[in-house]
């Protein structure tokens, strides 16, 4: 099958005073057109840097040091900035966590949306306004024509995030990378936006990479899930299957940490220790120091083992799946 996005062995490193930080280290995955994939991990796992790498947004001291990112068959790694700019917004867009930081405070919503359109095509003011208003309506903003004249500070956090989503959809990209877009919002607004995103992605045929630390949100949205730990994808597979029968001890640990799994008032099963510093990763499996199943074999780095639909990066995967060596 011709994948929309194929990432092979992507490595993004940051040269810092405290040493080389391997934020993304050998990440491979693919995405079909229109597919919604959840990228899950804790802070510092490299999920955001992976998203930034896809759009060529990694700034110094960070650099993509290896691997390949193919979007619609076209190699993005090594592409000059001018070429990347033509793709950004048109073929691949991004929605960030904090909409008050991504919208320009001194421009009206209308101006910001028109600029996003003009970046890629010649469009008249009236046509730009029509298309903008239409999208604002579709992302659930009532009275869109009037909202176009407002500034970001006049809108609530939820409304601002809807505007950011509308801007991402303006040029009908084939892929939108969403980096924790609902984390800063209240649950009632989060539920509205999740429902809308799912419907819009289906309508537009847009594929989504939904970056989040929240397994519950991802389970409601994504058909496939990628679990990241310390710069690597440690588990991958269909969402329901992975969450029902996780193969990596880290995925199991994350699930066990959720209060909804335990009986009220009982101790949660916790993962001991904390996430390792990416500048100073342990030899071999990065999760081994926190893992209950770790043994001598875990001193060497595990290879990714794949079945037809799932993958795991572990010497001792859980469950009864027959993992090829």
């Amino acid at each position: 099958m011709n994948a929309l996005l194929a990432v092979e062995n992507l490595a993004t490193h940051f040269a810092t005073r405290n040493g080389l930080v391997k934020a993304v280290d050998g990440v491979s995955f693919h995405l079909d057109a229109g597919e919604i994939v959840g990228l899950v991990g804790e802070s510092g796992s490299g999920k955001t840097v992976t998203g930034f790498s896809l759009l060529g947004l990694v700034d110094a001291p960070g650099r993509i040091v290896g691997g390949s990112i193919k979007l619609e068959g076209r190699e993005l790694v090594g592409l000059p900035q001018a070429e990347l700019r033509k793709l950004r917004g048109r073929r691949v867009a991004m929605v960030f966590q904090d909409p008050s930081a991504t919208l320009n405070p001194v421009l009206t919503i209308e101006t910001q949306m028109r600029l996003a359109l003009e970046a890629h095509e010649r469009v008249g003011a009236a046509a730009a306004r029509d298309r903008s208003a239409d999208l604002l309506t579709r992302v659930g903003i009532p009275d869109a024509r009037r909202r176009l004249e407002t500034y970001p500070h006049q809108l609530s956090g939820g409304m601002r995030q809807r505007v950011a989503i509308a801007i991402a959809l303006l040029n009908r990209p084939s892929l939108i990378v969403c980096d924790e877009p609902t984390t800063a919002l209240d649950v009632s607004i989060q539920a509205q936006i999740l429902a809308q995103m799912k419907a819009l992605a289906a309508d537009f045929g847009t594929a989504l990479i939904w970056i989040s630390h929240d397994l519950a949100t991802v389970s409601a949205l994504a058909s496939r899930i990628l679990v990241m730990y310390a710069g690597r994808i440690v588990e991958e597979g269909p969402t329901g299957e992975v969450l029902r029968k996780p193969a990596h001890p880290y995925t199991q640990g994350l699930l066990d940490s959720l209060p909804s799994i335990a009986a009220p008032g009982e101790d949660l099963r916790q993962i001991p220790g904390s996430t390792p510093s990416l500048a100073n990763l342990p030899e071999g499996c990065a999760f081994a120091p926190r893992c209950a199943f770790a043994d001598a074999a875990c001193k060497s780095a595990p290879a990714t083992r794949r079945t037809a639909t799932r993958a795991v990066r572990c010497h001792h995967p859980l469950g009864e799946v027959a993992w090829p060596l």
Partner: protein, 333 residues
């Protein structure tokens, strides 16, 4: 069970000074709309000894302000927060806290610990200043509390920046515990932590509750967490309590439409591959500067009837101890 904390008709108003236009309008004798936010609007609430009360609501509903008044770090505009029948704050122009029996834990351990103080000094400062321990005993006392929260005693010599978020939150908890409080007010204590670290801190709270018999006010927007840790919950909307009751009863059988809507919005872990139907609440939180008349929730309520637009529902206690502020409560089932 005796109530350890009793709030009587607590109100917290925030007014901004009148702007130039308003002052001109007043000079000209025109009506001026006051810019006053009722962050907490006539809330009465009790917390029994040894109880963990979960306080839930969306941002801006006044849950943190209510917690701060109970903790005695923000004076109420009207009403009283009582600890064993005695107000937690004195009266007068600039009231101060009169008790050390309430301690608070804040959301962001990066902001709540002084970066220039050693952990040992952070934990010992309060007890020494209040004469709970002498300077000579302070080191041993600090080590005891650091051990109680699962930190190594050598941590006392180090600075906050040398610790991760989860460890810093443990320091903040040790600092609160060192004051030998009877009640802890925890304002979103794990919201800024990663999932795996959240579980560690939640387990620590559960252990403290068992070992020390602590009473807690646990403020959070995370319903799953509140369900796990609380004996009783109180749901807030735009400055008012809308429903309170035993945790299990409220979660299994919500009677206020807002509680129901919150529970429906809560993302749940889906283990099957079925398509998820979201049932979001319509609309957004109205501005607390201009709350809607009548029931504050009526604009978003699916069961709204004419009376809801005009009459403010009172919080009424029923025989089973549930409290509810709704004209047309949901029928259980």
């Amino acid at each position: 069970m005796a109530a350890l904390i009793a709030c009587q008709n607590l109100v917290k108003r925030f007014s901004s000074p009148p702007q130039l236009g308003d002052r001109l309008a007043r000079l000209l004798g025109r009506p001026v709309r006051p810019r006053t936010v009722y962050a907490v609007d006539d809330v009465s609430l009790e917390i029994a000894e040894g109880e963990v009360l979960g306080l839930v609501g969306e941002s801006g509903c006044g849950k943190s302000t209510l917690g701060r008044m109970i903790a005695g770090i923000q004076p109420p505009s009207a009403g009283l927060a009582l600890l064993d029948g005695v107000p937690v704050m004195g009266g007068g122009r600039s009231p101060v806290k009169t008790t050390t029996r309430v301690q608070m834990i804040f959301q962001d351990p990066f902001a709540s610990l002084d970066p220039r103080m050693r952990i040992g000094d952070i934990v010992a400062e309060g007890p020494i200043a209040n004469g709970l321990v002498s300077r000579a005993e302070a080191a041993a006392d600090t080590a005891k509390w650091l051990a109680a929260v699962g930190l190594d005693p050598t941590a006392a010599q180090r600075y906050p920046h040398q610790f991760s978020g989860g460890q810093r939150q443990r320091v903040a908890i040790a600092r609160a515990l060192a004051m030998r409080p009877d009640i802890l007010v925890c304002d979103e204590p794990v919201a800024s932590l990663d999932v795996s670290i959240q579980a560690q801190i939640i387990n620590l709270f559960l252990k403290l509750k068992r070992d020390l018999g602590l009473t807690m006010l646990f403020i959070s927007h995370d319903l799953g967490l509140v369900r796990h840790i609380s004996d009783r919950v109180a749901i807030m909307y735009l400055g008012k309590l809308v429903e309170t009751g035993a945790t299990q009863a409220v979660f299994e059988n919500p009677r206020h439409p807002y509680t129901r809507a919150l529970l429906d919005s809560m993302p749940k872990l889906r283990l099957d591959d079925a398509d998820v139907d979201f049932k979001p609440i319509d609309g957004e939180l109205p501005s607390p500067l201009a709350p809607p008349p009548g029931c504050h929730f009526h604009l978003r309520c699916p069961g709204m009837r004419p009376a809801c637009r005009t009459a403010v529902p009172e919080l009424i206690r029923s025989v089973d101890g549930r409290e509810l502020a709704c004209h047309y409560p949901l029928v259980g089932g």
